[in-house]
């Protein structure tokens, strides 16, 4: 008769404890979306704002890896990524053919499509949603172009209030250097060339980015977001963001 094998001692594994998010109460900024029930959204919406060159995208990439490693299902969203209008928005931008109000509304359509079809369903499924920019960039860009603030606030009263918003603030002088280091060129729109601030693109970039920072400061009076000093080293910023996000998850 065969002797039953002695049970293997359990392999030693470091304790695997995953923080389960507490149920959060979400709300809209204002009117919100019709026929949407917010009581079942157990995920978290985390927004990272900042200009091109603020380190926004690399921070988001680092955060996705970190969150997934800690056992959180994570999804990324961003501007101009909707199924509905992203293609047409690109065309409009390349041709620079749409007027301001039209462009605002086109971007708002893109945002609303993603909010309803990606962000809210993901939050309902308990995902961590990382948004690479949100309504604040859209509003700041429109404000610089002379849009009426009340009109914009009504337009974006459909938006969900995020669980955390981090604004990576970097001075225009550093931004311009980072953009050159990365691609040796400045983007037409990120330089605000449509505004005719200056015919010199370098000059226009600096002026435009200062105006955007000014509008972000103004929006901060209404919308709660945290200013993160984006001039520090990427790893310093990442650990700062991690600590803050941890608090949001277990809050």
């Amino acid at each position: 008769m065969k002797k039953p094998a002695a049970p293997n001692p359990r392999p030693r594994v470091s304790a695997v404890r995953i923080a389960v998010p507490t149920r959060a109460q979400h709300r809209f900024y204002g009117h919100g979306l019709p026929h949407i029930d917010l009581s079942q959204l157990s995920g978290r919406l985390i927004v990272v704002e900042g200009a091109d060159g603020s380190g926004r995208s690399s921070q988001i990439a680092a955060l996705v890896g970190w969150l997934e490693g800690r056992g959180h299902a994570t999804i990324q969203v961003g501007l101009k990524r909707s199924t509905l209008v992203s293609e047409e928005l690109d065309k409009a931008q390349n041709g620079n053919i749409l007027s301001h109000t039209t462009m605002s509304l086109f971007y708002a359509t893109d945002f609303a499509d993603q909010l309803e079809n990606v962000i809210i369903p993901a939050l309902r499924a308990g995902f961590m949603v990382l948004a690479d920019r949100y309504i604040y960039t859209l509003m700041a860009r429109d404000l610089v172009r002379g849009a009426d603030e009340k009109w914009l606030k009504n337009l974006y009263s459909i938006a969900l209030v995020p669980d955390a918003v981090f604004y990576l603030k970097v001075s225009p002088e550093i931004l311009v250097q980072r953009n050159f280091a990365k691609s040796r060129t400045l983007d037409y729109w990120e330089s605000g060339m449509d505004l005719g601030l200056s015919r010199d693109m370098f000059d226009s970039f600096l002026k435009y980015q200062s105006l955007i920072i000014e509008k972000f400061n103004r929006l901060r009076r209404t919308y709660d977001f945290e200013i993160v000093d984006g001039s520090r080293s990427p790893s310093e910023i990442t650990s700062d963001l991690r600590r803050k996000i941890e608090a949001v998850i277990t809050r």
Partner: protein, 232 residues
């Protein structure tokens, strides 16, 4: 209070026609346009949902049934803004009589029926001045329904209001949907000074009524166009 183009000092005038699908408003606005054109006046006609770029997104959204009440509302507002900023306003500045087959009231009615908050929709369109004259073609619900339903193979998804889940039957859904839109129009009628036309009358009777009202309220002699280039 939003002003009309005349109140804002524009030399041009905007005349809008509103009403249910099948109320005959497009026929009436076409006849009005011909009448003005044939007198040599500066006239421009603009249709709802006709901005080329936005239309490609709208038709994709409709075909693939991607639209929610909010995106339906926003994409139509985008289309309207494009026409408003690039066509209507410049032409009104240049002293044209602009005829619009549907204006912001179509959005007010439809989007509200779809469940968007009335205040949100109205503020969305607050960048637009009000028409100098709005004709509302009021036909009995059954009359307009029959005009649409007869001789048409199938109603489209959003046209029938299928997204509202009023009924699984397209025709039934369309009837309920149109009924609700009519209620919205009637509720707006006095607030926005609609000039109601009895659309159950013969085409000619309606048209002569429209022409009478237009010539009584607008000094048409102020809209005579330039001489054609070849006669200079």
């Amino acid at each position: 209070m939003t002003k009309t183009f005349a109140q804002l000092g524009f030399p041009g005038r905007l005349i809008a026609v509103e009403g249910l699908d099948g109320s005959g408003k497009s026929t009436q606005v076409y006849l009005l346009k011909r009448w003005l054109e044939l007198q040599g006046l500066k006239v421009f006609f603009s249709e709802w949902n006709s901005s080329a770029l936005v239309r490609s997104a709208t038709s994709k959204g409709k075909k693939q049934e991607l639209l929610t009440p909010t995106t339906f509302s926003l994409i139509h507002a985008t289309d309207f803004a494009d026409r408003y900023e690039r066509q209507l306003v410049p032409l009104l500045r240049a002293g044209y009589i602009v005829l619009c087959d549907r204006y912001i009231f179509t959005a007010f009615a439809r989007d509200t029926v779809r469940g968007c908050p009335q205040e949100w929709v109205r503020k969305l369109y607050s960048f637009a001045a009000h028409p100098d004259m709005t004709f509302f073609f009021r036909a009995d619900l059954e009359v307009s329904l029959n005009r649409i339903l007869v001789g048409r193979p199938e109603l489209k998804h959003f046209e029938a209001g299928m997204d509202l889940q009023l009924s699984n039957d397209r025709e039934e859904s369309f009837r309920i949907f149109q009924g609700r839109i009519l209620d919205q129009y009637l509720a707006m009628s006095s607030e926005f000074n609609f000039h109601t036309v009895d659309a159950n009358q013969p085409i000619e009777a309606q048209q002569s009524h429209v022409r009478e009202v237009v010539s009584a309220r607008i000094d048409l002699s102020a809209f005579v166009g330039p001489l054609p280039l070849e006669s200079l």
